[in-house]
């Protein structure tokens, strides 16, 4: 009954390759995200996506692209991998309820994918 799942857990690849990381959530949430955690543990939002809007952090290279086949999935595709792409990538999801007294808006994170580019 995993809430947010990612595959693969580990990904080792050569520079220049193209790879994808898959993410699925079974929480019925309407918004999904990708975050990057670097070697210093700093977390940064890359993308947020719901069925209406894709928001891209302006610092993310266009080699990275999210693809959402349906509301429960948001995959991350990376072209022409570079050494600096090595990091842990986390998928997350939440229900965007625009606040309110009963809103929790907690973002639930997947287990992470450790990407190593050689």
């Amino acid at each position: 009954d995993t809430a947010v799942s990612q595959t693969p857990k580990y990904l080792v690849t050569q520079m220049g390759n193209d790879k994808s990381i898959k993410c699925e959530q079974n929480l019925g949430h309407d918004t999904m995200y990708w975050y990057k955690q670097d070697s210093k543990k700093f977390l940064k939002i890359m993308f947020s996506y719901n069925n209406k809007e894709l928001i891209i952090n302006e610092t993310v290279p266009n080699r990275f692209s999210p693809k959402s086949p349906d509301k429960a999935h948001l995959n991350l595709h990376i072209n022409s991998l570079e050494l600096g792409d090595s990091a842990v990538y986390f998928c997350a999801s939440s229900q965007y309820t625009s606040g309110g007294p009963h809103s929790t808006d907690t973002q639930y994170f997947g287990p992470g994918t450790r990407l190593t580019v050689l």
Partner: protein, 112 residues
């Protein structure tokens, strides 16, 4: 640009002691989150603070939010070794649409 600053970034303390982690942010948001991360693991949600003056407690951890001061605190009471982890605060500026902006994390080590 939203900035979220945590301090301290590293904290070593003894079991049984009390301590506070501070989180300052630069926006007028009233939505702040605390997460815990163990080495090699994912982020676990600890607290969601959604209004000025919000206070939440779970076990030995208590979090509060002062939106006027743009400050949240995570207080640890009578620390135990199992609380050793990295703690992140994060701010939601636009109701989830933009994702969370995280602080750099506080690496907490609690020694017996």
């Amino acid at each position: 640009e939203l900035k979220v600053e945590q301090n301290p970034l590293f904290l070593s303390m003894q079991e049984g002691k009390n301590y506070t982690i501070y989180c300052n942010y630069s926006t007028t948001s009233d939505r702040l989150y605390w997460y815990r991360q163990d080495p090699g693991k994912s982020l676990e949600s600890l607290f969601v603070l959604l209004s000025n003056g919000a206070v939440k407690q779970e076990g030995r951890l208590m979090a509060s939010l002062d939106t006027k001061a743009r400050l949240s605190t995570l207080h640890i009471t009578a620390a135990v070794h199992d609380l050793s982890a990295t703690y992140f605060c994060a701010v939601d500026e636009r109701g989830g649409a933009d994702g969370l902006t995280f602080g750099k994390g506080t690496h907490l080590i609690i020694q017996p």
